[in-house]
């Protein structure tokens, strides 16, 4: 009886782990997509509305869902007078705090990390070109993420169940 319960537990845990990994593959492209849209909105705020960076980030944060929302919100809050951080430090701090809650990978993080060095520190034309290049890089990442999703999502979903079944068989 106890053995059976253990086996059931192993199978449930394995399947769950597989599903979670699969979900990460499914979420990554859509999160990259919303990140790109957020950057495009930021581009508009900067080049057409002259919105100061903290206000622009806050406004865009409200239009998004978590985890992007809290990422942008933390970045905006770091730029308060009381914190005394530069735009770059504040963005990097937000990335450090919230990146692990996203399904995105290190290459997307690098794009944002790089962008943080220039955001808010130059004229509109320069800002525009930096944002555009960031968006182009993210587009490439998104295409790759979609390939990965097609390749691995189903695999991980079944792999979780199959691996746990194998373990149960071996233990028996």
């Amino acid at each position: 009886m106890l053995k059976l319960l253990g086996a059931a537990l192993i199978i449930v845990a394995g399947t769950m782990a597989g599903w979670m990994k699969a979900r990460q593959y499914a979420n990554r492209p859509s999160q990259i997509r919303s990140l790109m849209q957020a950057l495009k909105r930021l581009e508009t705020e900067i080049t057409y509305s002259f919105t100061p960076l903290p206000d622009a980030l806050r406004r865009i944060a409200h239009q998004n869902k978590d985890p992007l929302r809290s990422l942008l919100m933390t970045a905006a809050e770091g730029m308060n007078d009381a914190m005394g951080l530069t735009a770059q430090e504040s963005l990097h701090r937000a990335l450090d705090q919230h990146w692990r809650h996203t399904a995105m990978k290190a290459s997307e993080r690098d794009v944002l990390h790089q962008l943080a060095y220039t955001l808010g520190t130059s004229d509109r034309r320069d800002q525009l070109s930096h944002m555009e290049s960031a968006i182009r890089q993210l587009e490439a990442e998104e295409a790759e993420a979609r390939d990965d999703q097609a390749r691995y999502e189903k695999m991980f979903r079944s792999l979780g169940l199959l691996t746990s079944a194998l373990i149960v068989i071996l233990i028996y």
């Binding site: 002259f50 100061p52 960076l53 903290p54 005394g84 530069t86 770059q88 808010g120 520190t121 130059s122």
Partner: protein
């Protein structure tokens, strides 16, 4: 000190170590990348050492580095340099509280004209101070008894003598109707301030942070000539107050105000009225004489002093 937080921690901690009596007198804080940190108080200057002591010897002084210049610029632009393109073209940024930060560095040209300043390496924070009552002695001399108004006045002084502080208080008193004269018993007048550099009223999101009087409207961050016309058309001011006139279009707008029956109180850089009115841009205001009073400002240890000249005696 609402201007202190603008500096990076390394610099503000040095400023905080200064004796309070001196800190209250600070007029300028000059940050130059890789060069000594300087503060100016009423006519003298000091350098600050690493320990926060004041010295006259520049070799002992603390030298802010690139990192601090970068932080300072980031902070004064509210992390958004792109919103300050116009300010960078003019060479200064006004921060909340009406304090003005002058900038110098390498300029970027576009077709021979300055587009903006890049690699900003020198910052000069000019502390704005509100001194109520500084114009007490001047107001009675500017009253126009026949029209129950004020006389057209040009205030002349070299930079850093307190022009802005003076006209801020003038505007408050005219707007309030504190004439300081027995026979002047009428109330305050409608005052319009054209505050191109946001220094007179220190406006934050359009609302003045200094007391400029109950009947005063402020056109913030607006070019003077255009602002004067807008005010005359839309706000029916009785007195217009502008800082630092000097371009031909400013003179044009001042004349326009005269024709509209609006009184003008303006300031200009200079030392003498005659010399000033010979400048090509302002010569149109000399003949026929537009200004009825010229006030020459001077500052000494006791404070502001001024000399009031009637235009007929020029």
């Amino acid at each position: 000190m609402n201007w202190m937080h603008i500096f990076p921690q390394t610099i503000s901690s040095l400023l905080r170590k200064m004796p309070l009596s001196l800190l209250n007198q600070v007029e300028e804080v000059r940050v130059r990348e890789g060069r000594p940190l300087e503060v100016n108080t009423a006519g003298t200057f000091y350098f600050l050492t690493q320990e926060g002591d004041i010295t006259k010897d520049p070799s002992l002084a603390y030298q802010p580095g690139r990192e601090e210049a970068h932080r300072l610029l980031d902070q004064i632009t509210n992390h958004s340099l792109y919103t300050m393109e116009e300010e960078l073209r003019k060479g200064f940024i006004t921060i909340p509280g009406g304090h003005r930060i002058g900038l110098a560095g390498r300029t970027v040209l576009n077709q021979g004209r300055v587009e903006h300043i890049r690699d900003v390496s020198s910052f000069n924070l000019r502390v704005a101070r509100e001194i109520k009552g500084v114009a007490d002695a001047l107001v009675p001399k500017l009253i126009d008894f026949t029209n129950k108004s004020v006389l057209n006045t040009l205030i002349i002084s070299p930079p850093q003598q307190g022009k802005t502080t003076l006209i801020r208080d003038l505007s408050r008193q005219i707007s309030q109707g504190t004439w300081g004269h027995r026979e002047a018993s009428w109330g305050g007048l409608k005052v319009g301030i054209i505050d191109e550099r946001s220094e007179i009223a220190g406006s934050k999101q359009g609302v003045p942070s200094f007391d400029v009087g109950p009947r005063t409207d402020v056109m913030d961050a607006c070019p003077k000539a255009e602002g004067m016309m807008m005010m005359i058309r839309s706000m029916s001011p009785e007195v217009l107050i502008v800082d630092e006139i000097g371009r031909p279009e400013d003179a044009e707008a001042v004349l326009e105000a005269l024709h509209a029956g609006v009184r003008v109180i303006a300031t200009a850089h200079g030392t003498q009225a005659e010399e000033l009115l010979h400048r090509p841009a302002l010569s149109r205001l000399a003949d026929p004489p537009f200004f009825q009073r010229y006030v020459i400002l001077q500052r000494n240890e006791r404070g502001l002093s001024f000399e009031c000249i009637k235009s007929s005696s020029l």
